[in-house]
Symmetry: C2
Subunit: 311 residues, 2 copies
């Protein structure tokens, strides 16, 4: 157990990844939420500081992702009243589609576990972090939480049982993140989705997710490229994101293996096999959104293989 305090980092994530709605996600190197945790004076978790959030985030532990996840870990360890103070440094906005709530929840669970001397493995922390994100999102699903915690590209075969597996990441993958400065709430983004899919769409999507997994395993970039087409979710959500198809067309013409919506949007990601394509796509994003007079941030990053960690 740490005698004074410590700092943890939990990375942003891209969920869905075009072909794995609710079952696929990956972590990126930056940004990521940070938590500083110290011993406290009053029983249980107390949130003493939140910075970097555009929206007002709750300090109440029972409705804050990080606080809730942290408290759940304490409860599980049979030490619900152990006094800890948490400072939450948000590095990404809510509603960006980069797994903001998940990163906070993961950081909260990690922080307490580190302070307690790591009684739990990362894998064992997963349900508590998922419960933390559920506070914000209303859904018990791990497609952001699992990659933020464990790193890499993760398959969540089944969310209810947290049947989570890491997928091999080929060398040389670069990611361009593009974030037009509009806000889409996950619940709004879910509301546009039909609960019906055609059998043909399902056949195409199962072929593509299988092709993606196989392509990743074999470092077969051509197969990854052919596989990264979303027949189901993207066509329904693209309408919520200005310039989506212009951006996608440009990204693919610049060599992206795939381009789609990050999580519930509005962020988008380009999946690239080299840094040049990734940088060209970043530049194209600034040009396209500048022309459309929409504020935008874009950056090139890599897949984060380590996941959450103590800094």
């Amino acid at each position: 157990m740490s005698k004074t305090g410590l700092k943890v980092f939990a990375p942003a994530t891209v969920a869905n990844v075009a072909v794995g709605y609710d079952i696929l996600g990956f972590a990126i190197d930056q940004p990521g939420d940070e938590i500083i945790i110290k011993h406290g004076k009053e029983p249980g978790i107390k949130i003493t500081k939140i910075t970097g959030a555009k929206q007002k985030l709750p300090y109440d532990v029972s409705s804050n992702c990080a606080g809730y996840a942290a408290q759940k870990v304490l409860d599980h360890l049979g030490e619900p009243d152990r006094p800890f103070e948490i400072e939450l440094y948000k590095k990404m906005g809510l509603g960006t589609g980069m797994g903001s709530s998940a990163a906070s929840a993961v950081a909260g669970a990690m922080a307490v576990n580190e302070m307690m001397g790591n009684p739990l493995t990362k894998r064992q922390l997963l349900p508590f972090a998922v419960a933390g994100e559920e506070i914000a999102d209303g859904a018990y699903h791990a497609d952001n939480v699992a990659p933020s915690l464990l790193g890499g590209v993760t398959l969540i075969r089944d969310n209810a049982t947290l049947d989570v597996h890491k997928i091999h990441v080929p060398k040389g993958i670069y990611i361009t993140m593009i974030h037009p400065q509009i806000e889409i709430l996950t619940k709004d983004s879910r509301a546009v989705l039909s609960d019906q899919v055609t059998l043909q769409q399902t056949i195409a999507q199962t072929g593509n997710i299988a092709g993606f997994v196989l392509g990743m395993f074999n470092s077969n970039f051509d197969l990854i490229k052919r596989s990264l087409t979303d027949h189901i979710i993207e066509p329904q959500r693209a309408q919520l994101i200005p310039q989506f198809y212009a951006m996608k067309e440009e990204a693919l013409s610049l060599g992206a293996l795939g381009f789609s919506i990050s999580g519930a949007g509005p962020s988008m990601f380009a999946f690239c096999s080299d840094s040049l394509a990734a940088e060209n796509i970043m530049n194209a994003a600034y040009r396209i959104y500048n022309e459309a007079k929409i504020e935008c941030s874009s950056f090139v990053t890599k897949i984060n293989e380590r996941g959450a960690l103590r800094l």
Copy 2:
């Protein structure tokens, strides 16, 4: 080129494999169709003999899977009038769900290619064999043809472009095939399927196909077992097969990793991690169908890694 004649073998196959409707299939060691091919006297392909078919199969090359595929290969090679005589030895019935038409089409394409001195690779024969099967089935899809030709477990990411890939097969997999002696035509079996699927079913199915591919790669039998559940097709088709659920329950309780319908049925397959479970399931099949007074054949086989070959 062979001066006299030769014999080829194309194995039976299991398509769909629970979680890969239209996109997944595997070949089994036995049974398989055989073709003897010889030089003929009249221009083009001539079918001179068909044995083993319960139903009357056409001798007309344009409507026989084997003949059509064979002729397509000749056409492609620019030698449409090269005279060949084909004898087709059927080892499985039409409508069994074991890829009977596909095996014949593959054998036809292979036979001509072998006689011509192997100008084409197996991969290059694929479209001609698929075209041959289409004669019988009415659909251009490779989930039986690809594994019969290439062997192993094959993913057909996309049928239209024949984007076909082999999936690693862990050591120790045994298959029990169970064939109650009723006939289901593929077109009837397709007719019971709704063209709508729920989004939740699709999420579950994409999770499972990805889990299956990952489990096969990592020889993770537990993951394969959790993944081999069909949320979409099996519940709709099971009604066509007497005793399906009794058989499935027994197979799973005897240790099968998965149990589902082979192709369009009525054959069923159990996917097992050892031969004992596979044999016990075979014995259970005889017991269950004997009690139900339905004739049944069942056998234990392995996944055929070689695919079609010259004998």
